[in-house]
Symmetry: D2
């Protein structure tokens, strides 16, 4: 992949999210931008009881939210806050039950075109090696 340096830092992306998407923090701040790299991003979702499901596992929708956000953040970091990218496609494989811990999502942008950006996301329980959820997604970038 071409390694263009990102346009925004983790702190800048984080401030942008707080301003434009305050809703993701309703019920308590759980989502954190840990790192923005070239064509990549890392996000963390803190453990919170509103994400728990029977058997003590974390809910599928909370992992889907995290993956979608990680991809958005990676794209935003790379191209800067130019207009409103929207998700057109997301696909998930749920591989293992996550532990009752924070989740870490690592996103890699596979393609950054003029109109479409595609990436994949690996979600793990913090400190674990095994992937609990794998996602791929596409954002449409306004022209």
């Amino acid at each position: 992949m071409s390694e263009r340096p990102p346009m925004m830092t983790a702190a800048e992306v984080s401030a942008f999210l707080d301003r434009e998407f305050p809703q993701i923090h309703i019920g308590g701040r759980c989502f954190h931008v840990e790192d923005i790299g070239p064509m990549s991003a890392r996000m963390r979702m803190d453990y919170h009881e509103r994400h728990v499901r029977p058997g003590g596992t974390l809910s599928g929708p909370s992992m889907m939210t995290l993956a979608d956000l990680a991809l958005y953040v990676a794209i935003l970091g790379q191209i800067g806050p130019v207009g409103l990218a929207v998700t057109t496609n997301l696909a998930f494989n749920f591989l293992r039950k996550p532990a009752q811990r924070a989740l870490v999502a690592e996103c890699r942008i596979l393609k950054l075109g003029k109109r479409l950006a595609v990436g994949d996301v690996e979600i793990r329980s913090q400190g674990d090696e095994a992937i609990v959820c794998h996602a791929t997604g596409t954002y449409s970038i306004p022209g």
Copy 2:
């Protein structure tokens, strides 16, 4: 598809969800089982400000939650509350921005095997014909 009659009514599935997944109602009851049919189910998600995103649209994750739930409910209605089915795969196409209204999800079970159940879900704004989100998903059924 074989048209086996469902094992549970909408009211029974609804009571099961309240007992086993009270978390889905955190922040206010939004999800409603409207109908359980043969190999099918219909769910509604009431409009709630916690699902709103910039531009007045409803969030992707709220639609993903609704689709996952509609598929779960269709399977549960069909086979009854026998053990804990888990999502293994979900794929979404986001087609249009939903209006600031309730969303209705119609799920159809495409295959109900011994180990895997597969279905698709069409989500529309209540009263509209256009599909705003299309999903397909697989649940693993414990043996």
Copy 3:
């Protein structure tokens, strides 16, 4: 969905395929455009031994080829032969083993935007009701 009348007939789409994609007929003509409707298309793949797999079933790749083609044909029929649409995303659920018979694919366009077209495809053994393969896909339309 908006019901715009298609721009091309089945015969016109068929002639276009023969001219632009003669490769799909290598080894013998199997793919046939049966119908072009408003926002929809139906294709048939004749039974041919090059599509057979152990146990007498038809191969996954032959079904994937058929689904991709059915979506392409539906879009082409609707918008006419204006430039080169390319597949950006395809997702398949393989539901049942197909019989040793022709396969019929019915495609429905779920969204026809300026830049992206999204559709789903149901593949059945000819004369059967059960879906053997379900697909969703996205084509990017050159601007």
Copy 4:
């Protein structure tokens, strides 16, 4: 991921394919098992004119065939030729037009359960760094 050593070598998997799936070689031998590693496999598809599409690019279906095969080969290598695994789900993102060269597919098994195996596949033009097609897939393993 747990790093269990594979049960079969590349030569053994290759001989198995020749015996059980001779159809993949119809029209000329293009598919080669290059490597079987722990929870991984690498396959090559030689350039052949039957895979070419207008504009000189390689067809989507030929890449889908390669990805499906790479995942099958990775699973086979890992668990040995015990029964007939079948694809239940495949999802593709087509990222770039491949060059008129051989394609190389690298598959990684993300989960190897008793009933389901999930993996992802990256396809590149031989000698290139850029991913032209990314796939994820699930095989059902007979019990």
